[in-house]
C-alpha cells in the first residue's frame, strides 16, 4: 500500500514537473508580418486547426514539428488533441479538399528559418532556441 502511494506521488510529481518544464520550454514564434504581440489560447488552437487563418490584419499559416515530445506536448496543451489525433484531423481535411497539410519540420532551427522567411508563418520552438528574424508571441 505504501509502495503504491509512493508511486502515485512520484507519478503526480513527474506530471507536474513535465508540465512546468513544458510551460516554460515553448515559445510561440511568428514571421514579422504578424503584428500581434499576444494571442488567446482559443485563437492559437483555431489557427492550428485551420479554422482560423488570420491574426489581426495578417494572414497566418501554422508550422509544425514532426512527431516528438515538443510536438506532442504543444498539441495536447494548446490544440486539445494529441499528435496522432491532430494528424488524423489534418488528413480528414486534406483528403476532402478542405485544406492542405501544414508544413512540418524536423528541428527548432529549421522552424525558425522557415518562419523567418515565410509571410504569415506561425510556429513553436523550445525556449532555448536562438531566434533570428522572427517575433515571439505570448499566449494570453
Amino acid at each position: 500500500m505504501k509502495i503504491r502511494s509512493a508511486l502515485h506521488i512520484l507519478t503526480l510529481a513527474g506530471i507536474a514537473h513535465a508540465s512546468a518544464l513544458f510551460a516554460g520550454d515553448v515559445k510561440i514564434i511568428a514571421n514579422p508580418s504578424v503584428s500581434e504581440q499576444s494571442i488567446s489560447s482559443e485563437d492559437l488552437k483555431s489557427i492550428f486547426l485551420q479554422t482560423k487563418n488570420s491574426l489581426g490584419s495578417a494572414h497566418v499559416l501554422p508550422v509544425l514539428h514532426k512527431a516528438g515530445p515538443l510536438e506532442e506536448a504543444f498539441c495536447t496543451k494548446y490544440v486539445g488533441k494529441n499528435d496522432g489525433a491532430l494528424q488524423t484531423y489534418y488528413r480528414s481535411l486534406v483528403f476532402t479538399g478542405r485544406a492542405m497539410m501544414p508544413k512540418a519540420l524536423d528541428t527548432d532551427e529549421e522552424i525558425v528559418e522557415y518562419v523567418a522567411k515565410t509571410k504569415g508563418a506561425i510556429g513553436f520552438v523550445s525556449s532555448t532556441t536562438k531566434l533570428e528574424g522572427v517575433i515571439t508571441i505570448t499566449v494570453k
Partner: protein
C-alpha cells in the same frame, strides 16, 4: 475492365502497390514545385476481404469470401495565394458490382477564403452532411472497416457524396459559447451509373441511362464550451431523377421527385482515450412520380430512418478497439418493424492495429439482423441472393489501408 473484374485480387493488389509506390516516391522527394508553388500530393488505398455466413452483402460474393473490396485515391493541391487554393482528387473503387474500377474526379475545386467566417468553394465539392459524409471513403481515419450502413450506405454513396456547384462556408466564434462551423451548398449531384440504385433496378428488369439531380444543403457544427464535445445538424434537399428502359418491353422508365428531404443530428465526444459518436437521420421521400414518359401516373413515398451510436477506445499506440450499433428502417410507417424486411440492425465489433503511421489493419465482425427486403436497394440485393434472403447475417471484414 473485364480482365480486372475477373482477376479482382491481383488487380487490387497491383493497384494498391502501384499507388503506394507512386505516393512513396513523391513523398520521398517532398512535395513537387511548379513555378515556385509547392504542390502537395497525397494518396490512399485499401484492400479488404469479406466473408459472410448467409446472405451476400453490398453486391459482393461474401458468402464465398471475396477480395472485391478495394478503393484508392490520389490528390494534388496548391496554395496559389494566401486566400486561394486549388486542387483535385481522383478516386476509384471496386466493391462487388459497385464502382467497377471506374475512375472519377472525386473532387476538384478552387477555394477562396475571404475571412475566417466567410469562404467560397467552387467546382466538384464534397458535401457536408452529418458526421462523416465527406470523409466516408477514408476509412483509415476511423476504427471501422465499414461505416454504419444505416447512415453511410456504401452502395448509395453517390446520392450525397458531392456536388458540382459551390459552397459558402466559415467559422463563427461565439466567445465563451465556443464556435460554429457552417457550410451552405448547392449544385448538381453526379450521375452514378455504378451504384446501388442502378444495380438494384437492373435486378428489377430496368436498365438506367441517367440517375442524378440537384442538391441544396446546409450543415452546422457547434464546437461547444464543453471540452471535446461537438454537436451538429444538417439538412439536404435532393432532386432525384431516374431515367431508363424496361428490359421486358423496351418502354421508358422514369421517376421524378416532388420532395426528398434529409435531416441529420449528430454529436461527438472524447474523454481520456475514449471517443463516442452518434448520428440520427430521417429522409422523407414525399411522393415520387413514376412513369410519366410511359403514360403512367404511379406515385411512391417513404419515410426512411436510421442512426448509430459508437464507442472507440485507444488501448495503446498500436491498438484501438470499438463497437457500434446501427439501425435502419426503410419506411418507418410500415409495420411490424420487427419483420426482417422492415429493418436492418447491425452490431459491430472492430479492432484496428496501427502498423505504421501510414498503414493500418482492421478486423471487424458484424452481427446483422434484417435485410430491408430485396427491393430497398440498401445492402442486400435480389440479384445477389436469388434463393431469397435469410433474416440474419454474420459478416467478417479484414482490411488493410495505407495513406500518405
Amino acid at each position: 475492365m473485364n480482365f480486372l473484374k475477373h482477376s479482382g485480387t491481383a488487380g487490387a493488389l497491383l493497384l494498391t502497390a502501384a499507388t503506394a509506390f507512386l505516393s512513396q516516391s513523391l513523398h520521398a522527394q517532398g512535395a513537387a514545385k511548379i513555378d515556385g508553388k509547392e504542390i502537395q500530393i497525397h494518396s490512399f488505398a485499401s484492400q479488404g476481404f469479406v466473408y459472410s455466413d448467409n446472405n451476400n452483402f453490398l453486391t459482393m460474393n461474401t458468402s464465398g469470401g471475396t477480395f472485391a473490396f478495394t478503393d484508392a485515391g490520389i490528390n494534388a493541391q496548391t496554395q496559389v495565394t494566401g486566400k486561394l487554393r486549388v486542387g483535385g482528387q481522383l478516386y476509384l473503387r471496386n466493391v462487388g458490382e459497385l464502382g467497377n474500377w471506374h475512375p472519377e474526379g472525386d473532387w476538384f475545386l478552387a477555394d477562396y477564403r475571404v475571412k475566417d467566417w466567410l469562404g467560397f468553394r467552387g467546382g466538384k465539392v464534397k458535401s457536408a452532411l452529418g458526421l462523416w459524409n465527406d470523409t466516408q471513403d477514408l476509412t483509415f481515419l476511423y476504427n471501422w472497416a465499414l461505416l454504419p450502413q444505416s447512415v453511410y450506405p456504401l452502395d448509395l454513396r453517390a446520392n450525397t457524396i458531392s456536388h458540382l456547384g459551390g459552397d459558402i462556408y466559415g467559422t463563427v466564434p461565439l466567445k465563451k459559447a465556443g464556435s460554429v462551423a457552417y457550410t451552405i451548398y448547392g449544385g448538381q449531384r453526379p450521375s452514378d451509373l455504378q451504384g446501388g440504385i442502378v444495380y438494384g433496378l437492373l435486378g428489377s428488369g430496368i436498365t438506367v441511362n441517367s440517375y442524378g439531380g440537384t442538391v441544396i444543403g446546409e450543415d452546422a457544427k457547434w464546437t461547444t464550451p464543453v471540452k471535446n464535445l461537438m454537436v451538429g445538424a444538417s439538412f439536404v434537399d435532393l432532386d432525384v431523377t431516374t431515367e431508363g428502359t424496361r428490359i421486358s418491353n423496351n418502354k421508358p422508365y422514369d421517376v421524378y421527385t416532388n420532395k426528398d428531404h434529409t435531416e441529420a443530428a449528430y454529436a461527438e465526444y472524447s474523454i481520456w482515450k475514449l471517443t463516442f459518436d452518434g448520428e440520427g437521420r430521417r429522409e422523407i421521400q414525399d411522393v415520387y412520380k413514376v412513369g410519366l414518359k410511359s403514360g403512367g401516373n404511379g406515385t411512391a413515398a417513404a419515410d426512411l430512418r436510421g442512426g448509430f451510436l459508437s464507442a472507440t477506445a485507444r488501448v495503446n499506440k498500436w491498438l484501438q478497439v470499438g463497437t457500434y450499433h446501427s439501425r435502419y428502417y426503410p419506411n418507418w410507417p410500415v409495420t411490424p418493424r420487427g419483420l426482417p424486411i422492415n429493418h436492418l440492425f447491425d452490431q459491430t465489433f472492430s479492432a484496428r492495429v496501427d502498423i505504421k503511421s501510414y498503414l493500418d489493419f482492421k478486423a471487424e465482425g458484424h452481427f446483422m439482423n434484417g435485410t430491408t427486403g430485396p427491393n430497398s436497394y440498401h445492402g442486400f440485393y435480389a440479384l445477389d441472393n436469388p434463393a431469397g434472403e435469410q433474416p440474419t447475417t454474420k459478416l467478417v471484414i479484414l482490411k488493410l489501408s495505407y495513406h500518405l
